[in-house]
Amino acid sequence: MADHQAGHQAHAPQVHITPMWIYLGVFAALSVGTILTVVASRLDLGMWNTPIALIIATIKAVLVILFFMHAIHSTRLTWVVIIASFLWLGTMFVLTFADYLTRHWAIY
């Protein structure tokens, strides 16, 4: 563009080409996670059934965010937005359940 300041160097987007083995490895991990979720749900793990399902789903989500969505190579500003969104989500859950879970002091 004509109004570029002298000495300004136009730069192209940063290109981080993720190796194929990482994409395929993440895919394999997501598939194994899906199988583990099904297997774990069919076992009687007492109070652990729900936490285990949540933990596996969270690990799968983190893998997708880091590698498929390239968060690992994103700018710090993008990281702020990603972390802030989960922080607000966490705030919503924690404050709501601070109410609902303590109404009868029951352990669910």
């Binding site: 136009a10 080409i17 993720t18 749900s41 498929f68 390239h70 937005v81 607000w88 709501t96």
Partner: protein, 227 residues
């Protein structure tokens, strides 16, 4: 046919918008904006999920009964289908970074195909639930456990709305894919300008993540009554 992208007379990339300094800045701005949009999406789905958990804690038995009405094999198959579509979406971005035009087209077409398979399986499940009178409203029936029926109906309200919102996102994504396949075919994307494919991917992977949570929440609740 319009010409493939080229350096025009002014010496800048045809897809560089004039309010950006350069393609790098444009790329960063669009990625950041997409994450900003996804933050609203996380809270949007998060609100529904939170309501789901409040009622799941209130009516654990009905939630287990409701999940038992789902065909977990179809749910698991759809989870794998969606993971495959996320892999092909990620590979479409990679091919754009490597300036492989046909690679981008092929991977986007595969993503569209797997996304459509997902929607097809989902439609089959919806039809089955409709026939089973598991759609909330006047025709809802749950003879198996009349006492729990109202709460199972509430579970089904969450089932239909959560999977319905998810399917709506998939349909929007499929529409975007068709547009992107056309653009990739026109050779619009390359290492200097893969941002749109990346941003499309962010949306698609987000929708995949939503399903990663919906699958265990709606299909796989270990029954407290069997415990």
């Amino acid at each position: 046919m319009s010409a493939a992208p080229h350096e025009d007379a002014h010496g800048h990339h045809p897809f560089l918008q004039h309010h950006f300094e350069d393609l790098g800045q444009q790329h960063e701005a669009s990625t950041l904006a997409m994450w900003g949009f996804l933050a609203t999406e996380i809270l949007f789905f998060g609100g529904v999920l939170m309501a789901y958990w409040v009622y799941r804690i209130t009516y654990p038995e009905a939630w287990a009964l409701g999940a038992a009405q789902q065909n977990w094999k179809l749910g698991a198959a759809n989870t794998i289908v969606l993971i495959i579509s996320s892999l092909t979406m990620a590979l479409a971005v990679r091919n754009a970074q490597l300036a492989r035009r046909m690679g981008v087209v092929t991977m986007l077409v595969l993503t569209l195909i797997f996304g459509s398979i997902f929607l097809g399986i989902k439609a089959y499940e919806y039809h089955a639930h409709w026939e089973e009178h598991l759609f909330p409203g006047a025709s809802f029936q749950f003879a198996e456990n009349p006492e729990q029926a109202p709460h199972v109906q509430l579970f089904m309200v969450f089932y239909w709305s959560m999977t319905g919102l998810h399917a709506l996102h998939m349909i929007i994504g499929a529409g975007l894919l068709i547009w992107f396949i056309w653009r990739a075919w026109k050779n619009h994307f390359g290492p200097e300008y893969y941002g749109p494919v990346e941003v499309m991917g962010l949306y698609w992977h987000f929708v995949d993540i939503v399903w990663i949570f919906l699958f265990p929440f709606l299909y796989l609740i270990h029954g407290v009554h069997h415990g």
